[in-house]
């Protein structure tokens, strides 16, 4: 399978790989996918009191496109308000990375991940 240059770049030099302190109420974690399907994405965001995402980290088990989708996503959400981050569409990710049709599900997974992370941090802060 031929990958786009952007996918290869993110795959070779993934941005923001790592883990944030999940016990903090300012950290939201989105874990999506399943090993059986061949991809699992963990996206974490750290927000400040104004709801701005100050940091984002990911780890992904999956193909190059899945890794690139989550790496790109961490770049995009940093500095964004969680309401705006939640609006990121999988089609934007797929377009930016020039994903082929069989890899669209990777971008869908990334969209699910940011939504899940935002939901998680909202729930934590509501308590």
């Amino acid at each position: 399978m031929a990958y786009s240059e952007k996918v290869i770049d993110h795959y070779e030099n993934p941005r923001n790989v790592g883990k944030l302190d999940d016990t903090s109420k300012f950290v939201g974690t989105g874990m999506v996918g399943a090993p059986a399907c061949g991809d699992v994405m963990r996206l974490q965001i750290q927000v400040n009191a104004d709801g701005i995402i100050e940091d984002a980290k990911f780890k992904t088990y999956g193909c190059g496109s899945a890794i690139a989708s989550s790496s790109l996503l961490t770049e995009w959400v940093k500095g964004k308000n969680i309401d705006d981050a939640e609006q990121i569409k999988n089609t934007e990710i797929a377009h930016e990375l020039a994903l082929p049709p069989v890899k669209i599900h990777c971008s869908v997974l990334a969209e699910d991940a940011i939504k899940a992370a935002v939901r998680d941090v909202r729930e934590k802060q509501a308590v």
């Binding site: 874990m31 061949g38 088990y61």
Partner: protein
Amino acid sequence: MNLPIYLDYASTTPVDPAVADSMMECLTSTGNFGNPASRSHVFGWEAESAVEDARVEVANLVGADPREIVWTSGATEGNNLAIKGCAQFNVRKGKHVITSRIEHKAVLDTCRQLEREGFEVTYIDPDEQGLVQPEMVAAAMREDTTVVSIMHVNNELGTVNDIAAIGKLCRDRKIFFHVDAAQSAGKTAIDVEAMMVDMMSFSAHKLYGPKGIGALYVRRKPRVRIEAQIHGGGHERGMRSGTLPTHQIVGMGEAFRIGREVLASESDRIKVLRQRLWDGVADMEEVHLNGSPNQHVPGIVNISFAFVEGESLIMALRDLAVSSGSACTSASLEPSYVLRALGLNDEMAHSSIRFSIGRYTTEEQIDTAIAKVRLAVDKLRELSPLWDMFKDGVDLNQVEWSAH
């Protein structure tokens, strides 16, 4: 060293230079270009003689009579011709066929077609080492079983089935026995008499011959009759019509002649390389050798690197030509059906790489491969949330995943 390193010999092999030379002598006007079926002039006679010499070479590798060798376009056609041809010819005796779940698609899809034609097919699940045990075949046999088709060597795992024992079972029950030997010819000893095989498919390109040519062994005594699938000029005793491609056949003959000559020495050399490769990665955490530790050909090594996804691993290993699952299925995102049939869980099946070693593989290439694999696996595990969880002692089977 030239990169990428070719470690995909189970997929196909380069043509041996001696084979290429023999083929080039059968193409141009100064060469042996005649139609082997032309009876009226020397061009035809010479072509026919070259074809018959090649037939002897193929027969010799497997202990057959040359008259039992039918030229085909490859093992896929051989499998189709044997299974459909034999099942259809014997349809009045019964409509039940037995095969295994880990056969090549050329066998499985052929069986699916027979099912559409009203046949019943039993698909045997192999044991966890990937072996189809004779007692499993015995248990599947019925009064109306006419054909059993079991592969000799599995293309993904390299496991070797006990063909002689299965052959004996079939012979005792007067059931026709077909063996897909695409991966075993020239890799391990074959004797169609001792193994009591009735039909056996071969491919040239897995043994340093050209693509597009193969052969089907069809037993004469006791006689096996099959219905032709390609009709025409009645070539190959009516079993497979079509002008014989002299250059392809001569290439296959030469490849099989060399294969017989070097079988023992080549297999010893590849055994050493296999061990070197496995030793080079075996000390890493959570690395598993798939298949059978004892019953295997040396050239195929299938390894699961847990918590790393296969496609990303192949991407990281772009300096190595290896495959994840078989090449025929790697366009899809399904994990290997062969590994799943062994009962491997999905993440292990997703994490497997097949390395296949061959005639031109060197020690230096294996060492480079080891270094690259170690680096890639470490890198991808650093990226893997599953590896994190494993390290934190989380049992991944207890996690409720959101399947998509």
